[in-house]
């Protein structure tokens, strides 16, 4: 596709997103805010799960850790001044704490592969969640407050709409930068065949750890902002199995390992569950499960994969999904 055209389209989308809250009501502003948050998570998960092929089933640990870090930083070390700018330091620090934690567990846990890595991450998220819930210092059981210093005259949904929008944009730009760099190609080589990549001189260990930490920092930052947006939360508001699973499902539906896949998948799933089915809360799981099964069976490469193989039928079925062009 034409490079200038893509750039132009991207600018148009960003402009439209900036102006949108002027027309739509608070409900849809909140839905789109949720979309920005979830798509940001999916993009961050995709850095490790999509590019390097390490599917984490416990990424919610970084959401929880980010949110709780921000709350404890503000209540124990704060305040950091007035106005929205006082949020900057707690959010950045929370992201860094998540990155630090990821760096510590990265070496042992990334020695596991495939399903074992996935379940080990699930285990990590459960252990950390239970500790936050049961050790009184963390106050996960009773919950913590995280007040947002809103700028004067701004509705909270508009404020978080722009904040999450900016974070999503940043995540996408980071993902594009990674994908186009040597680092990105190293991750793809790890996904395709880790042993061969190592043999050919790719520093697989280092690149895997870098991807893991980067993904953790992004998710932790989003988690901290999420903490601000809900204002009060307990362990199970932020350490949630369905967060971990949503990241995977969104990527899967759009196309794992592609740049646009996570965003498209999130948009479609949220549109179906939040808008079309908002009145049928008791069969949400049923529908989500059915969509997941149908996507895997009918379009194993997700929507992007299906589009590619439709455009280039010669490339052959699901195989096209694992390639990652622009």
């Amino acid at each position: 596709m034409n490079r200038a055209l893509v750039l132009l389209a991207a600018i148009a989308v960003v402009l439209a997103a900036v102006l949108l809250p002027l027309w739509i009501g608070p409900f849809y502003t909140r839905v789109i805010q949720l979309f920005f948050f979830s798509a940001g998570l999916a993009v961050a998960w995709n850095l490790l799960g999509g590019f390097a092929g390490y599917w984490s089933f416990g990424h919610t640990v970084f959401i929880g850790m980010g949110a709780f870090s921000a709350a404890h930083i503000v209540t124990r070390l704060g305040p950091f001044g007035d106005g929205p700018l006082s949020m900057v330091l707690p959010i950045l620090l929370s992201g860094l704490i998540c990155g630090l934690f990821a760096a510590i567990i990265a070496y042992p846990i990334l020695r596991l592969r495939g399903i074992y890595f996935a379940i080990a991450m699930l285990g990590v998220s459960q252990v950390v969640g239970e500790l936050v819930n049961n050790l009184s210092w963390f106050q996960g059981g009773v919950g913590v407050f995280l007040q947002t210093p809103l700028p004067a005259g701004t509705a909270p949904e508009d404020f978080f709409y722009y904040l999450f929008g900016a974070l999503l944009l940043a995540s996408i730009l980071i993902a594009v930068a990674v994908r186009k760099s040597r680092f990105g190609y190293a991750l793809l080589s790890i996904r395709e065949d880790e042993d061969t990549a190592m043999m050919l001189g790719v520093a697989t260990e280092r690149y895997k750890i870098m991807a893991f930490v980067l993904s953790a920092v992004l998710v932790g930052t989003l988690g901290a902002v999420y903490g601000y947006s809900v204002g009060y939360f307990t362990t199970y508001t932020v350490f949630r199995l369905d967060f971990s699973l949503n990241m995977i499902v969104f990527c899967l539906i759009g196309g794992i390992g592609t740049l646009a896949g996570p965003v498209i998948g999130t948009a479609i799933m949220l549109f179906i569950t939040q808008v079309l089915l908002s009145r049928f809360l008791d069969i949400h799981l049923l529908i989500t499960g059915a969509i997941v099964v149908a996507i895997i069976l009918l379009m194993p490469g997700g929507i992007i994969g299906a589009l590619r193989s439709w455009r280039r039928p010669a490339a052959g079925g699901g195989a096209a999904a694992t390639e990652t062009g622009s």
Binding site: W55, P108, I109, R111, L112, R113, G114, I115, Y116, A118, I119, A120, L122, G123, V124, Q126, V127, E130, L131, N133, N134, L241, L245, I248, V249, L252, D282, I283, H284, L285, L286, T288, G289, A290, I291, V292, V293, I296, L297, P300, G318
Partner: protein, 292 residues
Amino acid sequence: MTLFLQTTLNGLVLGGIYSLAAVGFSLVFGVLGIVNLTHGIFVVAGAYGALVLFAELGIDPLVGIVPIGLALFAVGYVYQRTIIQWAVSRASLVASLVVTFGVAMMARNGLQLVFGPDVHTITPSYSFLSIPLGPLRIDVVRIVALGASLVLLTVLALVLARTHFGRAIRATAQQPLAAELCGLNVKNLHGLTFGLGAAMAGAAGAIIGIVQPFTAASEVAWTLNAFIVVVLGGIGSPAGALVGGLLLGLINAYTAQYVGPSLTQAAMFLVLVLMLLVRPSGLLGNAFGESR
């Protein structure tokens, strides 16, 4: 000392049930290489089946194991030959993980719609009796549950070790291609193995129903327990499941008694993560070839 012995006893009894609940998962994992996230659903479905049979027809849950096992065997066979088979052939083994997860979500939602979100228990006539054992006490239901678990595990071990069917399953687990070249119908055997796993899970569910309260949502815990048991004991063998299950039961009981009842989950997962890192092949049993 009495407290320690009582805790140990409770842990072992709990562990026997964990073993039975996990052995089907272990079998499917070892033979088909599939991590079946629907496993917990089979367990909970077995418990609900026992509840319905007991409440509507007055059939004792231990007798109910037979029809429940047969029904879940059929469900498991069909499920493997259709959805799971398609997922593996069209996408990948990892994708089958997600498919089973999707099916589990649907089934949990379905169970919640049918039976409601309430916690259920099955209370046969012997449910409040207990036997003194020196200074210790043990509930009759727990003894019955442990006994039934051990019997079923032994039967399964004998079937796998001594019968033609068992040898065929083990051959398929070792080398699917070679087994097929020797004239075994591997696709059919995969289906049968999966059905067997589902039947064992259903039987475990019927027993769990008389020992513990259950809801549709507890399926997640049973799937995860099965995974931990398999990682502790090693995949693909009833003996491994027994060792892993007993260990998990002991860990659970000791943590609840000496550290804090709210930390059992954390302790179990901590052991899981450490075990994966230190000795990924389990305490006994086959190495996980692809774990690292």
